[in-house]
Symmetry: none
Subunit: 544 residues, 2 copies
């Protein structure tokens, strides 16, 4: 964690991420350990102060994550709950599971709403206060930084302010570094949050010890967090892309740029996120969607692909005169980019920049530019997407620029998937692919099975891939260091039909990573098209 | 429009919808006239005060909409811009096009930011003020209700408050019923909006004449609108589902329930939306997504399918005791419903609840409950997910409860995908599937192709589905009204291997919709498993 004193003279504001814990409460989201490690590294790269990794002991992947994670600059936090009544903190095995993760920081959720103490826990109000005190004291005695998550705090405060404050004081007096005010049900509006945070500070809980944790049930989670900071709270909790239970948590992807770029926050506060790191925000947001195989939300503030898209004609023409006319920030500050309808001048300059990124320098005004834009538009209406499939985009452009090379021609292919009982009466499946190509004027026929070295069936796409590269004459050697690393499938709209879009990520021994796209109503066909593009792109690079 | 005086003694707050105009600025959105009429009717049914239908003259479907719309209770508004310099309002053909729509109300956008007057219009500040005055006076002289949309008002006010207020006064003095303060670029935060609205009212523009129009570029559009209402504005503009340019407009789907159900708004204000009409909100939101062919946003506040989904085990068990423990409102108030998804974080009470939803009553403490949880956990670690695949969950539970029926046994299948040139030298693909089953002790063999009635290849999964249901003896008739409606694929982790998870949504003639899951390294195998579950679930329902 960065020191509290800061050369800028600004006040330190702390950012706490709970994507791996509360974010995993999103319906349909279940991270693997490898995915958790990847997300943690991205959060660390951004400069978050705390990364909450999960509830060790409650969930096997959470425990595995804490075992495997290393080298974090951010403070790693294990989450759990205050000890139960009728046993000591040291003898509570749920709490022991949390402590065993060995993190420098531990966050325990506990009740601060008398209704919940009675209804959900069924214990006395005093017992609950004692559970908070003893649990936090236990963390401190073990040398951990202690955070107390005051569940339902705002509802509790409105119901019985005195009791809610007693719960906070018990945690504070026991040595909690942070008291986190949670609007667990997400129903408290920003003005009410501001008023209550003011009152909590007036009641003697220092703002420098207060965190805010909101949920988006009224679409005010971001605003509620901002209101709490203005009222004096100095830690903001949230998740990437606003993942989380029900409608999600406060969206850090929106909060971070606002805190860094907007007044009064930018002048008043220093966070662990630098302006340089902020330029990686869009990438981090898209990476998370990629892990979740979700279509990134186009309208997402700051990072969405439409966030700086100017559709209205009047807006677009003003933007060309001066981008500040219709943009509240420069999209580059968050690593995003401006989008202006493809048909006009600005569309062409965007295209030239993208071609240059692929090593293709095209002069302004070249008529091929309009043809390329036209063809992309037509393909996109069929269901193709070139946002990530940069390699397929390059091949399309090369075709229009007369820079394509046909290394070989696929005459036909056939792939069979079969499932039946083997001789031990066990159901097994096997795929077999035949690919017929013409290379250097010669017809070549190859066949491959989908079984890998361990005897596992890797499926029809893998079999097709093996058969395709098996015998391409002079080219097979070039392709020897190439492999498929990921395969994404999405059902999308192609004209009026539902079609399958496949995106394949490939890599080679030289560390290159490239993405290609294929679209068809037939998933195998779509995959094969993406495979062919992947091979062609590699051959353009390496076949002389 | 409903009268301003109200028997409730509450103050009247007006709701203005611009889904059909600003909402259409969303990237990729273009409504047909028929769709506009359907949306307008839904808005009218909810009880909106104003429905802005578009810019007549600028867009053919907008003009057609105004020609065709009839029987609205809401006030219909045509949108346009203030007259241009150098001609009279009566002689401006763009303004004439707007007037020709014949709506009782007209909203004209104009500049109030000196930077834009100079940069975008290139006219003098005085000319702009005169354009506003003359345009509004023209509307009033023609007997129309006049609204002035003060574009970039907040940025303009911060840059030159005096000039921005002069623009508002020109509209007010000319007879505008509403002066709409627009945060066009979406960069103004709620506290700043509140302060400026207070200052505008203090400068003599009555709050009862002020509207607020925000955009969601910092994820604060809803909060900014609420802040403006607290500061005195009495008209709120927004769109259904937050459609709109860039990140969208203020989301009326979130604002309306907050204004009706949350304090201080609920006690202070009366809107045209009744509590009865509010129960139709979720349906209206889904209808719009349906028109746009979008997957509804699960996490959408109030109306999303996850908005009342309780995934955390602790939350789910408390909800069973008392729903107010983790719900800020009753989901029925907005026509939504509670969901308790199955996942490895859920406890036995959650499980019993979910089994009951599937018609399986299991006593508390039944040892099968622990076995079911164990098996779900094991399957989830292999890559299965039961959050949405409720039908596969039910089949798994039935197996453990001894309530499963084996209707038939699949002995083997084989599917072939082939791509080759047809007799016209065009590359075409075709899939063929053979499925061998044993039904009622009898072996049956079926074969099907993937070609649909239009001659399009629908791929191997479709071919397998056709072959599977083709001849299942007595069961084929039961399956006749069943079809596949969606197919979702993702690569996930199964143990240490990458595997493919397929989720299939099926429906039948009785309006049932159910989801099943399959997992395998082989995508065809995973699909077949999900297909088999889909068929078994249907047979349990309908085969006697």
């Amino acid at each position: 964690m960065v020191a509290e004193g800061d050369v800028s003279g600004k006040e330190r504001l702390y950012l706490y991420d709970t994507t791996l814990r509360d974010g995993q409460q999103t319906q349909g989201v279940q991270f693997s350990t490898a995915e958790k490690l990847r997300i943690a590294a991205a959060l660390d790269g951004l400069g978050l102060d705390h990364v909450e990794g999960g509830w060790p002991g409650a969930n096997p992947t959470d425990s595995a994550f804490f075992d495997e994670v290393t080298g974090m600059r951010a403070t790693l936090v294990a989450f759990g709950m205050t000890k139960r009544a009728g046993r000591s903190a040291a003898n509570d095995e749920v709490l022991a599971g949390v402590m065993n993760a060995g993190t420098p920081s531990v966050c325990l959720v506990g009740k601060s709403h008398e209704f919940h103490v009675r209804t959900a826990l069924g214990i006395s109000l005093d017992e609950n206060v004692e559970n908070i005190r003893a649990s936090i004291a236990h963390l401190v005695s073990q040398g951990r930084e202690a955070l107390f998550d005051a569940e339902h705090f705002f509802d509790g405060y409105k119901s019985d302010a005195g009791y809610a404050l007693d719960c906070l004081r018990a945690a504070l007096d026991a040595g909690a570094r942070w008291i986190v005010l949670c609007d667990t049900n997400g129903g408290t509006l920003p003005d009410e949050i501001a008023r209550i945070v003011h009152e909590v500070i007036a009641a003697g809980i220092p703002g420098a010890r207060l965190g805010i944790h909101t949920h988006n049930d009224t679409e005010n989670a971001v605003a509620g967090s901002l209101a709490a900071v203005l009222a004096g709270a100095r830690q903001v909790q949230g998740t990437l892309n606003g993942l989380g239970e029900r409608c999600g948590n406060a969206n850090l992807t929106s909060l971070i740029p606002t805190l860094l770029l907007k007044e009064p926050y930018a002048s008043q506060f220093q966070t662990g996120v630098s302006l340089d790191a902020l330029e990686g925000l869009t990438k981090v947001s898209r990476m998370l969607d990629d892990i979740l195989n979700r279509v990134p939300l186009k309208q997402a503030p700051y990072v969405g692909s439409s966030a700086f898209a100017h559709k209205a004609g009047l807006h677009a023409s003003a933007i060309l005169k001066d981008p500040t006319t219709y943009e509240h920030i420069d999209p580059g500050e968050v690593g995003n980019r401006r989008v202006i309808p493809m048909s006009n001048q600005a569309g062409q300059s965007n295209l030239r920049r993208r071609l240059a990124e692929a090593g293709l320098e095209v002069a302004a005004g070249d008529p091929a530019l309009a043809r390329i834009l036209e063809r992309i538009k037509a393909r996109e209406s069929e269901g193709y997407s070139y946002d990530t499939a940069q390699a397929s985009f390059e091949l399309l452009a090369r075709d229009e620029l007369g820079l394509a090379t046909e290394f070989f021609e696929v005459k036909r292919y056939r792939v069979t998937v079969e499932r039946r009982k083997n001789k031990y009466d066990k159901m097994v499946s096997l795929s077999e692919a035949v690919v017929v190509v013409k290379v250097d004027g010669e017809k070549r026929q190859s066949v491959s099975e989908s079984m890998d070295a361990s005897g596992m069936d890797r499926g029809p796409v893998n079999a097709l891939w093996q058969a395709l590269v098996k015998d391409l004459g002079q080219y097979s050697a070039v392709l020897a260091d190439m492999g498929l690393v990921d395969f994404k499938v999405r059902i999308t709209q192609g004209g009026t039909e539902a079609v399958t879009r496949v995106i394949i990520d490939s890599q080679d021994g030289q560390g290159r990573l490239w993405s290609t796209v294929g679209v068809s109503a037939n998933i195998v066909d779509a995959s094969f098209e993406a495979l062919l593009d992947a091979v062609r792109w590699k051959l353009i690079r390496d076949a002389v």
